[in-house]
């Protein structure tokens, strides 16, 4: 059995930041205490201040590569081994 949540650093979901959001946050990734996607977004605002707010409006969140739009949106639950990728609105190609 896994130890209960929050015991070890390794067991927390990994939040990865990309492109301009990464630049604004000044950090590539961190381990999160959040239990769902909504909490990750709140946590990001707390962690990096208002400066990142504009990148989070309309941002795209993937949990293990799946767009949360197809899962339960902000209510998508996170397990400890999950990887959360947060992208600011972007396009290229």
């Amino acid at each position: 059995m896994r130890p209960p949540r929050g015991y070890g650093y390794e067991e927390m979901p990994l939040v990865k930041l990309y492109a301009t959001l990464r630049k604004a946050a000044g950090e590539k990734e961190y381990r999160s205490r959040a239990r769902n996607v909504g909490q990750v977004l709140e946590e990001l605002r707390e962690r990096y201040g208002d400066g990142v707010d504009r990148y989070l409006r309309g941002c795209i969140v993937l949990v293990n590569g799946q767009n949360v739009g197809y899962l339960k949106g902000k209510r998508t639950k996170l397990k400890e081994e999950d990887e959360v990728s947060v992208f600011p609105p972007l396009a290229g190609g």
Binding site: Y70, F87, A91, G93
Partner: protein, 688 residues
């Protein structure tokens, strides 16, 4: 008098060494805008389809649009059009950079080149018209050198040059036309058309001020657009990381093709090749096309190592993917070197990457032998082989001679058509329809063959753009429902962008509003455009181009996508699903025709409901048996939803699309639809 345009083009005949002016009627500008729209109208009126692509009579049309060369953000572009030697149908390619404003200032809306010269020549276009000059001393030079030499020769650093490199001279079917070292009219082999005509370059330097119908109105429209771009997140991303900002997100959703479209996901790819990494390592500065605040172009320098590169244009997303992930190659330096080689030789990176990836897979499958490749061992992640192949293609040496014909021709000769990824002979650009289903329709129904800039579907499927103005809802990326309507709306916008002419990055980053576009064009030209009228113009241009395709011989059969990009990837997270691919499986069951249809439908329903969702479980257990060990590949966890998403419901979308576009069983637009849009002459040519 209308604004934005001059009302005339230069007509150059290289066989007879003549130059004359041709006046274009004002209503043609009103109904077809300019750029590729006006070019298509001219091509149709002069029965361009009767000439073979590589023949003197194929007209090469270098066309500005009303917006081209103005300081409206993103309006740095022009279109190069002709019948394509690569596809045999209508060919067009859009080019940014700095040529279009110079051409505009000469007092002409475009240059139409007919005939073919005996010796190499270049055109020098100024306020006084055009002069045909000898270019023997430039033949064989690469595009970077040619540009520099010509600027020196005409004694004016502000003169702008578009030119071809050795690939165009050697009639490589996907040779491009280059400007400003990193801006290209890339697709459809327009460089080969120039090469056939022995037209090495066109130099433009003008000083005239073009007319604007309503100066104040146009200024206001321009400021509105600049303001929108200032606050656009998309523009900010493009500026910071270039178009290659897409690599990370694209890979996360499976949009980036890996290993000739075989592998679903390559975790390390973006880390190695993506725009963020480039910005952190070899980027020296950003660069922009004329009057564009977005400045998405990259300038890079590689100081040492085998792929040393002096400061110059870096890979954009398409190059990073086509000459990177598609080859599963993880060297950023080699990728930039490959991009530079393609630029210098004057070759389209997408087609070039596509044909190399095809050849590598064919080599692996034993269809291509070492005796064919001149001893070269093709394989994935082999930077030196990649660079060598690029050189051989440009000079048509050995296997390069075959590859220079493109994947369609090559796969017909050597086999492997199922993994030759093209539509109508044009190699697919680097967006996977299995990630964004809209791209399936975009590729299949784009006029010039597989193309991602013919319409705005990419932006819509990425969730950054909507068609509310046209009363069309955007549909989910993985749903067939509503995709056809979305694509039709996207095509209207794409056609406008390529006729007005404006950069799609810039326009879409600002929100891609048709109302704003109508406002800007109204003020500029003086024609009373509205959103509805522009939508009609978008349709009119689309239909005339579709008809030209038909007249060149294209039918419904050509609107097909290769199976490789419609079903789950054979490798990566969605591996080993070839057993589950239903259509092939069913076509093996022999039975009477009518009953077979019913049977197919019912079984399809049942399989979809019960077998597909459990496919991974079934395959995982099968995998334990030795005879089902999936050729030694490890079967990874697969989400049934994932499987559904990666199986594109293409036929369903296409049928609906034909219905909306009113396309008959031969693939031609109906007479009534054409007549509604004022294209009676087109209807007569098509339906007799």
């Amino acid at each position: 008098m209308m604004g934005g345009n001059w009302g005339k083009v230069l007509k150059v005949n290289l066989t007879e060494s003549t130059v004359e002016e041709e006046v274009i009627p004002e209503e043609h500008y009103r109904d077809f805008l300019g750029g590729s729209g006006l070019a298509a109208k001219w091509f149709f009126d002069h029965r361009g389809w009767e000439a073979e692509p590589l023949s003197p009579d194929n007209p090469l049309m270098i066309m500005n649009g009303p917006l081209s060369g103005t300081n409206y953000p993103g309006a740095s572009r022009l279109e190069v059009c002709a019948r394509s030697p690569l596809t045999g149908i209508w060919g067009e390619a859009s080019m940014g950079g700095h040529f279009s404003p110079q051409l505009k200032r000469t007092g002409y809306d475009g240059i139409i080149v007919l005939g073919a010269s005996e010796k190499p020549v270049y055109l020098y276009v100024t306020d006084e018209g055009a002069e045909i000059r000898d270019a023997s001393h430039l033949w064989g030079k690469d595009t970077y050198e040619t540009e520099e030499l010509l600027k020196r020769e005409v004694g004016d650093q502000r003169a702008q040059v578009i030119c071809i490199g050795p690939a165009g001279e050697n009639l490589v079917k996907f040779a491009n036309v280059m400007n400003d070292r990193g801006s290209t009219a890339g697709r459809c082999g327009m460089g080969a058309v120039m090469g056939y005509k022995r037209l090495k370059a066109v130099v433009a330097r003008g000083s005239k001020k073009f007319p604007v119908a309503d100066e104040a109105g146009f200024k206001a429209a321009r400021e509105k657009m600049s303001e929108a771009l200032k606050f656009s997140m998309v523009a900010e991303g493009l500026h910071a990381f270039g178009s290659n900002v897409h690599m990370e997100y694209g890979m996360a959703i499976g949009d980036v093709p890996v290993k000739n479209w075989r592998e679903a996901y390559w975790a390390e790819g973006p880390e190695k090749l993506g725009g963020t990494t480039v910005a952190e390592t070899i980027l020296t500065r950003t660069h922009s096309c004329f009057a564009c605040p977005v400045a998405c172009k990259r300038i890079v320098e590689i100081k040492e190592g085998p792929y040393r590169m002096e400061e110059g244009p870096g890979s954009e997303y398409e190059a990073a993917a086509a000459l990177g992930t598609l080859q599963r190659m993880d060297s950023m330096e080699a990728n930039h070197k490959a991009n530079e080689l393609c630029n210098r030789y004057g070759m389209d990176v997408i087609s070039c990457g596509g044909v190399i990836a095809y050849a590598t897979e064919a080599f692996e499958a034993g269809l291509l032998k070492e005796s064919d490749t001149g001893g070269l061992k093709l394989g994935w992640n082999q930077p030196d082989t990649l660079l060598e192949l690029i050189r051989r293609i440009a000079y048509r040496e050995g296997i390069g001679d075959e590859m220079a014909e493109g994947v369609r021709t090559m796969s017909k000769k050597f086999g492997g058509e199922e993994f030759a990824v093209h539509v109508k002979g044009l190699e697919c650009p680097m967006h996977d329809p299995r990630a964004l289903w809209g791209m399936a329709l975009t590729y299949a129904t784009s006029i010039r063959g597989a193309c991602h800039c013919a319409d705005a579907n990419l932006y819509v499927d990425l969730g950054l753009l909507n068609h509310n103005e046209l009363g069309v809802k955007r549909s989910w990326p993985y749903r067939a429902k509503g995709k056809a309507a979305q694509t039709v709306a996207s095509q209207k916008k794409g056609v406008i962008a390529n006729s007005a002419v404006i950069c799609q990055y810039a326009w879409n980053a600002s929100g891609g509003s048709l109302a704003d576009m109508a406002g800007a064009l109204r003020a500029l030209t003086g024609f009373p455009y509205t959103v509805e009228e522009l939508a009609r113009v978008g349709d009119r241009i689309w239909y005339i181009k579709r008809a030209i395709g038909n007249l060149c011989g294209a039918t419904r059969e050509d609107d097909r996508l290769p199976q490789r990009i419609l079903e789950p990837h054979p490798e990566g997270v969605t591996s080993s699903l070839h057993l589950a691919v239903f259509p092939q499986f069913m076509s093996m069951v022999p039975m009477g025709k009518i009953r077979a249809e019913r049977f197919k439908e019912t079984t399809a329903g049942l399989l979809k409901k019960y077998l597909f969702p459990n496919m991974d479980k079934i395959l995982t257990s099968l995998n334990k048996l030795p005879m089902f060990s999936m050729r030694g590949k490890k079967l990874e966890r697969r989400d049934p939803e994932e499987v559904r998403r990666r199986t594109v419901a293409f036929d369903e979308m296409l049928e609906e699309y034909y219905r909306l576009r009113d396309i008959d069983e031969k693939g031609r637009p109906s007479r009534s639809r054409l007549e509604e849009l004022g294209l009676k002459d087109v209807a007569d040519a098509l339906h007799g």
